[in-house]
Symmetry: C2
Subunit: 246 residues, 2 copies
């Protein structure tokens, strides 16, 4: 029988891009009302205690899979969160008492995050998750525990990473327009980006290759397709990727 | 009576610069030989379990102060380390049994780091630290637990930070030569940097101001002094600091 560590948990912030908006994967773990009926929706990040004998990285994979069915997603740490009061709200305590043997113990959680192509990952809720859904980041309401704080920190880490590594390219189709790429950056930064500046900087960076092909069957002037130059990308990573500010 | 959390610790990686080399603050916590005599030197990062009711950031301050006497140093997290076997070597277990009530429990540690002007911080060992010393990073031998791994990770975090924030300036005197500044970057990156390139990039960045004054009483050609332009620095942080690659 595996033993849970009562003091250490992992929470996963999985971002998903659908070519339009940035989403985050949430579970509905439910919330008990004052009659102890668990009938209210309460969204939370997928997270749980780790096992005593589990590596943190393995724990992150296992927790995500247990609650949402998703697996084989490389996630990175973005911080540890240990406010002693982070689990002590009345509503959170009611819920914890329903599933944990030591609900009042203080838990430090390690945050893991990643960004994936949303439509490639269809979550299926299990364990204490009653549903698992992609929610646009801009529409996230009050989450359980301190999960809004975790979400904010993960978003900062994602934006920081986008400046030092062009992580976004695997989120687009093999042939994409610069408008599609721009939309990805706008969604992550949650602001409009100047089109001309964006194109100039992206092209200067040399990691996109212009293709002969153009869009077909569109109502507007067809846009040129680009592909991602992986060799040039690897080269930039080797020699130190220049900061990519928009 | 404060209760220690048997599963969560904090380790501090405090880097110090002495105008020449990068150092790290270590404690000698001792090591028991097979006769259980604690007479062998065993260096380790200053670290300990946290209290149940303690914020992580406060814990980092408290642990550093308890072991080395140093305080009021702003430190940042650089990662959580949770290999289930990280404390299980025979030598580490012998030591843990001498000071902990639950020496075999698995402990996840949260790493905190900072960089300070070394000569401003004179450590004074206390608690289970038998001495506390600044050691050149290049001369660090085998540390207790997984502390060599933590040191490597903290060094990577420091180098990464140096690319996105000019953190080094408060480590130099108010008036400094570009050679002194270059030496700081070389010490952190542990490699030689091309002098001409360095000067060009630093001046282009606009965060140093050339002064009228020059060095006096030096054997070589006296070098020009520079000062740090704090307003320009703040401005760059606001608008997004350009990546500073050397």
């Amino acid at each position: 029988m595996k033993r849970l560590n009562p003091h250490i948990s992992i929470d996963c912030v999985l971002f998903g891009f659908d070519f339009e908006n940035l989403h985050v994967l949430l579970i509905d773990r439910g919330r008990y009302d004052s009659d102890f009926k668990n009938e209210i929706v309460q969204y939370a990040l997928p997270g749980d205690l780790i096992y005593m004998d589990e590596q943190l990285d393995e724990g992150a994979q296992r927790v995500l899979k247990d609650l949402t069915g998703l697996q084989n997603i490389f996630m990175e740490q973005f911080g540890a969160f240990g406010d002693p009061g982070r689990l002590s709200s009345e509503s959170d305590q009611r819920w914890l008492k329903s599933i944990r043997s030591e609900p009042e113990e203080r838990v430090v959680t390690i945050g893991y995050y990643s960004l994936v192509k949303m439509h490639d990952y269809i979550p299926v809720a299990s364990s204490f998750a009653r549903s698992a859904v992609w929610v646009p980041v801009n529409e996230v309401a009050e989450l359980a525990f301190d999960h809004n704080i975790l979400l904010d920190k993960a978003l900062s880490a994602l934006r920081q990473t986008l400046q030092t590594r062009p992580i976004g390219f695997n989120l687009l189709p093999p042939k994409f327009t610069l408008s599609q790429l721009q939309r990805l950056y706008e969604a992550i930064h949650n602001r409009d980006i100047d089109k001309r500046n964006f194109r100039r900087k992206i092209i200067k960076l040399g990691i996109v290759t212009e293709l002969a092909e153009k869009q077909e069957g569109v109502a507007h002037k067809p846009a040129r397709f680009f592909s991602f130059d992986k060799d040039r990308y690897e080269e930039l990573l080797q020699e130190g990727f220049e900061n990519f500010k928009l």
